[in-house]
């Protein structure tokens, strides 16, 4: 399909701009743009059609089953899209005086209350833009807490299990901490012997996803909390998998001191092809003084943004956070009410049902009941038929399904990480299981079917190595070398070594 730039025709227009009958002040010459940007020139109907055509080359939850592990691809209620567009929300400037934003602030206040109840913690900052930023904010709180106690210089280590999302170690580095990895035991829990040897007075804390990326609840969580708190360290809960335990078990009750909540996973903010997200954090009272500013507060005159927090770590993004995400997630929570527990129950039921249907056909590295997701291995298929996890994934596309997460977590070879979520019907789960079982048979009978998959997507398998080795990262407007980029730009790419 052509790029929008390839459809451009000089002189065509898509949107009229108001042109008041006023003189345009002259800009000094050194500030003036002399070469116009090569934005596309299309009529309005052509623009609409271009992006509609792009949408038909994409697959969302609305299109079909999307069991992408650790991403919680659940139905996104359409009422929420209507609500976020209400003029009183969409048209509200974030810097209005608090008296003009009482409805927005009340919504944020209520959302904070719900998050406190769900996490079992004392205070909330809605500001972080996504889970990763929640992590980084949480680690900044660790620094601030220990600095306040005169321990920041000596507590430098953050413990992270080998099953963790890549964001955890990346956040540790960005926060200026050092990483201490800890192993997983044969049941899929943190290896307690390994852990005990690694936690001491130099430890700032733990980052843990529970249930883990293996979809397993750590059975020793109470002992883990004793180890960290006994050493004076703090515990961070990566809320990526909170969909398993809402109303079932609360991170605060497990002993965690900071939690981030992925509003775009558990609370149904649509993922939008990569974003937006929302990553509020909830904290124990000992960390409340350090929360980012502003904080939503309430007093006799109403709701207000409180900036007067002398121990705050400061601001981590603009304004009070991604408000539109709050509207959608708040609406989702209010639609469920106290029955939210059932959301997690059904998510776990759906996952265990799929697991039961698949565990004889694929290797199950940890033979336990799962929580909201589970990890299978295609190792046997690879050994016996030369078919890898990626081939299973691509073949699933031929059956009309989005593939699961593959090759993660790293501790499981040829991993297939499957998360059905609570919104799927049994027939959908059965159809997916039937496809997964058919693929096992195909692997033995006609492995080329898998190697060559997918067969009916808009493109066949793509050459990712070429994309990385000869980067073409923008359209070149015909101003090209063989490599598809202006020579000057290509030279700059080749200039830079890969970061060691």
């Amino acid at each position: 399909m052509n790029l929008i730039y390839e459809k451009s025709q000089a002189g065509r227009r898509g949107l009229k701009v108001p042109r008041p009958d006023l003189p345009v002040p002259e800009l000094p010459e050194e500030h003036r743009r002399d070469v116009p940007p090569r934005l596309p020139e299309l009529s309005e109907p052509e623009v609409l059609r271009h992006f509609t055509a792009l949408s038909t080359r994409n697959f969302g939850i609305d299109t079909g089953f999307y069991p992408l592990g650790s991403c919680t691809m659940k139905y996104n209620p359409r009422i929420n899209e209507r609500l976020v567009g209400l003029p009183g929300f969409a048209g509200l400037h974030p810097l209005v005086e608090d008296d003009a934003a009482q409805g927005a602030l009340e919504l944020e206040w209520e959302l904070q209350g719900i998050l406190r109840e769900l996490t079992g913690l004392d205070a909330v900052s809605l500001q972080p833009a996504a889970g990763s930023q929640g992590e980084l904010t949480g680690l900044m709180l660790f620094h601030a807490y220990f600095a306040d106690r005169g321990e920041d210089a000596t507590r430098r280590k953050i413990v992270i299990p080998d099953t963790a999302h890549g964001t955890n170690p990346a956040s540790v580095t960005m926060a200026g901490y050092e990483l201490t990895p800890v192993k997983t035991d044969p049941r899929g829990n943190i290896d307690l012997d390994d852990l005990r040897g690694k936690v001491d007075e130099g430890t700032a804390g733990l980052m843990l996803t529970n249930p883990s990326t293996l979809g397993l609840f750590d059975e020793n969580i109470e002992e883990i909390a004793r180890i960290f708190h006994g050493a004076g360290a703090l515990m961070y809960y990566d809320g990526a998998n909170l969909n398993a335990v809402c109303g079932i078990s609360r991170p605060g009750d497990m002993g965690f001191d900071v939690v981030h909540i992925n509003l775009h996973k558990t609370f149904s903010q649509p993922h939008g092809g990569g974003g937006p997200g929302g990553g509020p954090i909830a904290v124990r009272h000992i960390l409340e003084p350090f929360l980012p500013v502003p904080v939503v507060a309430r007093d006799e005159s109403g709701f207000r943004l409180d900036f007067d927090r002398p121990k705050s770590i400061g601001r981590v993004r603009a304004f009070s956070g991604p408000f539109g995400v709050f509207v959608r997630s708040y609406a989702f929570m209010r639609a469920w009410g106290p029955a939210l527990t059932e959301m997690s129950e059904v998510a776990v039921l759906n996952a265990n049902y799929l697991l039961a249907r698949l565990k004889d056909a694929y290797e199950l590295p940890f033979d336990r009941l799962c929580m909201h997701e589970f990890v299978l291995s295609a190792r046997a298929l690879k050994r016996e038929h030369g078919v890898a996890a990626v081939d299973v994934a691509k073949r699933l596309m031929d059956y009309g399904f989005h593939p699961p997460t593959v090759y993660f977590p790293l501790v499981v070879p040829e991993a297939l990480m499957i998360e059905p979520t609570e919104t799927e019907a049994k027939e959908t789960l059965d159809a997916f299981a039937d496809a997964m079982l058919a693929i096992v048979r195909e692997a033995a009978e006609s492995p080329e079917l898998l190697h060559e998959a997918p067969h009916d997507r808009p493109v066949r398998r793509l050459d990712e190595v070429r994309a990385a080795k000869q980067p073409v990262l923008r359209y070149a407007f015909g101003d090209v070398t063989n490599e598809g980029l202006p020579e000057s730009v290509q030279a700059r790419f080749n200039d830079e070594r890969e970061i060691a």
Binding site: G91, A100, L369, F408, R457
Partner: protein, 441 residues
Amino acid sequence: MSYISLTDSDREAMLAAIGVASVEELFRDIPDGVRLRRELELPRALSEAELQRHLEELAARNVADEVCFLGAGIYDHHVPAVVDAILQRGELLTAYTPYQPEMSQGVLQAIFEYQTAICELTGMDVSNASGYDGTTVAADACYVAKHATGRTRVVVTEATNPQVRQVVKTYAPGFGLEVVEVPHEQGATDPDHLREVSADAAAVLFQHPNFFGCLEPAAELAAAANDAGALPIAHVDLVSLGVLAPPGSYGCAMAIGEGQSAGNAMSYGGPHFGFLAARGDLVRRLPGRIVGETVDTAGERGFVLTLQTREQHIRREKATSNITTNQTLLALAGLVHLSLLGPQGLRELGETCLALGGYAKSRLVDAGLELAFPDRHTFKEFVVRTGRDAREALQSARANGIYAGYPLGRDYAGLDDSLLVAVTEKRTVAEIDRLAEALGS
């Protein structure tokens, strides 16, 4: 409403297939001491009709219908209806990050087109797929500069958006960076002063047009940074780049900014998108997703996430950033808006902002107010002295249905009487006349 699809008989059949007697049994791995043995204390469930009424009531408690001259980083631009129509396409709205390119060519091609648009507007070689907002991309850019130069000091102009400066300062200790601010002089930065403090700096970050709406001596600021071996980073407004020179043309290493002006409603501050574009030699240090062109096994063009060895899911603690979820859908909104405008429309949009801004300045001066920085050229925004406490002036204008601007006293010493007034293409001559009347009285 119901967001789940199981019937009671489905549940029974599924429990039987699993081999457990009850849903409760599925949670047997959770130690009893950490189980919540009570109902959640949450407000009662609402039907769809009740939910709509409840949210409408909350929305009605906001005041979003005053004539908006408030800017300061978020602007009341028109969002075309086509943007809404595209963003509601479920295939785009409800998709995840395009890890599986064969399922995601729509989003991948859109991001490639977005990257191209950002490069064209900024005059840079490469763009990532978006950052969270205009503040976090500033911290990201400083992190890139630290690793690219091996230096640990960043210089930020005081005339850069206060929230941008605050976020850079919040991130700086973890990054091992020290932040130095350069004061403005009569609404803009003195290049000689900047030159003095830029020695040994990793980066020089300046906003242009700056927070006051004033044009900075951008080329001279960039030259001062380059001469010191620091990376010049320009924080810019996409809407200005139809009329203003692109940062790439005056020597910047990176161009960043808040993208809300393109295609996004104000929405009380988000979600919007931050953009981050850079010179080609910095590409392998950039944070976040980047889409590249390639071919499939049949030789057809296609798009994939690329240069992923920078990223957290591959490189873990050695990644260039922890960013995962970004702002793709809002960046798409920006692309759709820019595609509707085209080069001519974007230039006209800039000219209309200039024309209305010029008219507003002259009307306010006629009404007896003073411009704070009368010798500066401005774009879309300017500072006016109200002759009294600016918040008082703001409140009295609000009584006339005019939200007159942003009081600068909370961020800048000596500007307690000053309002930052923004004029987008949505404002009319009549509304500006009302503004002058409201502030002049």
